[in-house]
């Protein structure tokens, strides 16, 4: 998946999920632009399927998952800036 040109510094984010607050609506999974998340097959304490991180290296800390979450269960933080060398 080539999105960024080579030599560009891209933000590297980290996704945090509080799985017991999640209600499994799936907004974060369906609207993530970098295909980071997926719905798990496990259940949380309330019986919903919560999201899990599928590709942790793809996250660019855009913050869209935390912006759309109705239950304040997911957010992202900035980890470091990585350099895209070759794809």
């Amino acid at each position: 998946m080539k999105i960024f040109p080579t030599g560009v510094k891209v933000a590297q984010g980290e996704v945090h999920i509080e799985k017991d607050i999640c209600k499994g609506c799936g907004f974060c999974v369906s609207y993530c632009p970098m295909d980071v998340l997926e719905i798990s097959t496990e259940f949380n304490a309330k019986g919903y399927h919560f999201p899990i991180v599928k590709n942790p290296g793809n996250c660019i800390d855009c913050g869209l998952c935390g912006m759309l979450c109705p239950d304040f269960a997911i957010w992202s933080t900035l980890k470091e800036k990585k350099e895209v060398v070759e794809l």
């Binding site: 945090h16 799936g26 907004f27 935390g66 912006m67 109705p70 304040f72």
Partner: protein
């Protein structure tokens, strides 16, 4: 306020029930609107004691219980009257009203018109989910045209931005919860208006439409609003009726000084 965003959510300090999740259905648009409102307040960097939140009955009435500002939950049809009263007694505060279809259009409509004419400095965020939670059988003022209710009665839909403009509102906009960034800058604009400002949010309700088996999924219902809405800035408010074949027109419609 001390925040540790590695361990807990950055918005947790604004919520009254910290570890408990909200009372709404999974995928309800009200949660996303509150999330956007909290991000706006964070971005504005103002004194939190200045903000007053007023909400009425129904699902939207739970907003006042959930937020850690000065908040009031009042009776059916008295939201906007109460908000104007709060504003008249605390002139420094910024009053934000979260209302739904049951709070005005039937029982509180004359207060909306009167306070709009008087140009009281309050911000109304009207969450329109196209139903009443109490009476889902009957056609209601916002049921889309030629969309039969269970009792098979029809009614012309109510046009809330046009009503707000004719009442003399200084700022009128309409968004969906998915346009969270647009909605955030709209709330920031309306915060600095010194007059009556109305933002309508057309939000998905999953409770009664989920049984139709057409849009049972929460994300699928939100995607319906995404594909069926079109942004037209400064559109005439006469054209903003929600009809079954038309696309939902969203955007900023009135912005007066």
């Amino acid at each position: 306020m001390v925040k540790n965003i590695e361990k807990s959510h950055p918005a947790d300090c604004f919520l009254r029930a910290d570890p408990v999740s909200s009372v709404w259905c999974p995928g309800c648009g009200i949660g996303t609107v509150i999330n956007t409102f909290i991000q706006t307040v964070e971005k504005l960097n103002i004194d939190l004691n200045e903000i007053c939140v007023v909400s009425g009955i129904g699902c939207t009435g739970k907003v006042a219980e959930y937020l850690k500002f000065k908040s009031f939950q009042v009776n059916d049809g008295e939201v906007i009257k109460y908000a104007a009263k709060v504003k008249s007694e605390n002139s420094d505060s910024k009053v934000v009203v979260f209302s739904n279809n049951a709070d005005f259009l039937v029982s509180g409509a004359e207060d909306f018109i009167e306070i709009g004419k008087n140009d009281v400095n309050i911000l109304v965020i009207h969450i329109n989910n196209i139903i009443y939670t109490i009476t889902e059988n009957r056609a209601i003022p916002t049921t889309p045209f030629m969309r039969a209710s269970i009792n098979k009665d029809f009614e012309l839909p109510f046009n809330i931005p046009h009503l707000a403009k004719s009442c003399g509102a200084r700022y009128v906009a309409r968004w969906t919860p998915l346009h969270a960034g647009w909605l955030m800058y709209s709330i920031i604009d309306a915060f600095y208006k010194k007059g009556f400002s109305v933002i309508e949010v057309i939000s998905p309700c999953l409770m009664y439409y989920a049984s139709n088996d057409r849009m049972a999924d929460a994300a699928g219902r939100m995607k319906f609003y995404d594909t069926n809405s079109v942004i037209k800035q400064d559109e005439f408010t006469e054209n903003l009726d929600i009809r079954i074949n038309n696309k939902i027109i969203i955007g900023k419609f009135v912005d007066k000084k």
